[in-house]
Symmetry: C2
Subunit: 311 residues, 2 copies
Amino acid sequence: MNILVLGGDGFIGSHVVDQLVSMGHEITVFDRFPYRTSRNLEHHRGGIRFISGEFQNRNDLVKALSEKDIVYHFVSATSPAESWNDPLIEVEESIRSSIMFFELAVRQGVKKIVFPSSGGTVYGPQNLPVDENTLPRPLSPYGIAKLTTEHFLNYFRVHYGIASDIYRIGNPYGSRQPVMRPQGVIAVWMHEILNGSEIQIYGDNTTLRDYIYIKDVAYLMSHSLINLMSSDVYNLGSGVGTSIMQLLNIFQQVVDIPFQYRIHEKRPSDNSSIVLDSLKLMKLFPGFRCQKLEERIEETWTYFKTTFHKT
Amino acid sequence: MNILVLGGDGFIGSHVVDQLVSMGHEITVFDRFPYRTSRNLEHHRGGIRFISGEFQNRNDLVKALSEKDIVYHFVSATSPAESWNDPLIEVEESIRSSIMFFELAVRQGVKKIVFPSSGGTVYGPQNLPVDENTLPRPLSPYGIAKLTTEHFLNYFRVHYGIASDIYRIGNPYGSRQPVMRPQGVIAVWMHEILNGSEIQIYGDNTTLRDYIYIKDVAYLMSHSLINLMSSDVYNLGSGVGTSIMQLLNIFQQVVDIPFQYRIHEKRPSDNSSIVLDSLKLMKLFPGFRCQKLEERIEETWTYFKTTFHKT
């Protein structure tokens, strides 16, 4: 199958590339590659095709979309904290640019789009866990834009017949997670510890997150390859709620460097508690079990220690 | 109370103005008034304040918003048919311009925004009737934009404390409904009959609409004045499903001019069947009953016959 991974050099994108390559598929990665290198995909050099371009540039995109069966869309220019005070950023950089991409994908004959939505922000405050039939009540511009983009995918499916799978992902963690963005507390804490900084903890035991190992995310998203004509929405989380204090406990067991921390109140832009009922997707992978948080945090810590001098 | 009605010269807006004036409130109307006259509000000249301006012009809006407690937002530049093939119209003219208005309303100290959403397009295909807890599945860019704007109102409420009531209105009909827009089949048919044209019928008995008399809509939307601090979402329909053939039967009984009709297949951009369970709102008006479709269609026909030479 001829697969395009937009933003394939990023955190989730590069792990999906690893997964799909391991399954024998033809992969093209489209990303900005600011220094004409792709550190996260170095190990695939020669094995996959790279196209460097801007997501907002129509000509760059048209070239990348040519003759692709399915496109994984991991381009993301926003975060919940960044747009909390500026919702028009989401309208421009998330909703508008995704619609322009969907229009081009239809014109280029793409059969299916795979879209990573946000389990942590689409639902808003709810009784937990939430499943795909829960009425979404997003609060942040980021979550609103993700849900709106989901709806537009549905419109393009009905109007033009292009299929789409939507994965509402929990809190992914693991190697290659950016440490300088305000998303991904596990990577951010590890980076602070390696820098000798005090780690900053926002919230308390009442705030739950649904951490899921990035390789589990990538594996489960390969489901979209099975049927290029089907469309659906899936929660993609571990189903386990972990509080920030439980996470701190795991860090205290795993991290072999002493570190300080400071506890702050929850910030207004912080997402609500989230635990995702992901049974709809899990049932499609009989026997699959999500990897254990404690073990994979240890592996992630080893990764960040090893790569720290390069970051 | 100091009330601003944006788009107060239009179909729904002008009936809401009638209602609020009859309740003794101070009304300011903001509209484009292209010929420096307001036909729909002529009877209020001297009694209410008019501000002429463009919704997309910040300076015009700031002036209108000054010292207002509550704003009814009836400005609408799009329709389901118009944006069916051009979703970016909705992003620009509906989502983006509403967010810019909400930001100004917050800055000007407005306490509450009243927003007419679309019962006919927000839900998409569903088992009927739908209530406010039904999971929305909008198909059209128009319906997606209405739902997205609802979510952004929620964001502005949480972030800045500005209250908002959202009314998901069914298919309103009655005097002053525009006859040249592709929304409002009752007005469009009456205009075609008065023009001596054949009326064009799309769909069949399987497509249901929830017609509600415009004066009922205006009366029920006055609920928002009771509590300027409360926020909620309400369906606003009659709760009765009427097929296009039932509507034709009523026309055949009421209309005292012979007319021809032609039946076509449903168009792709036509909304799904809709019947709104509006009990949540109706319960707030004990003893209230929606007016009868047959009787109010007769009254509407008399209105269009009387005003036809002016249109």
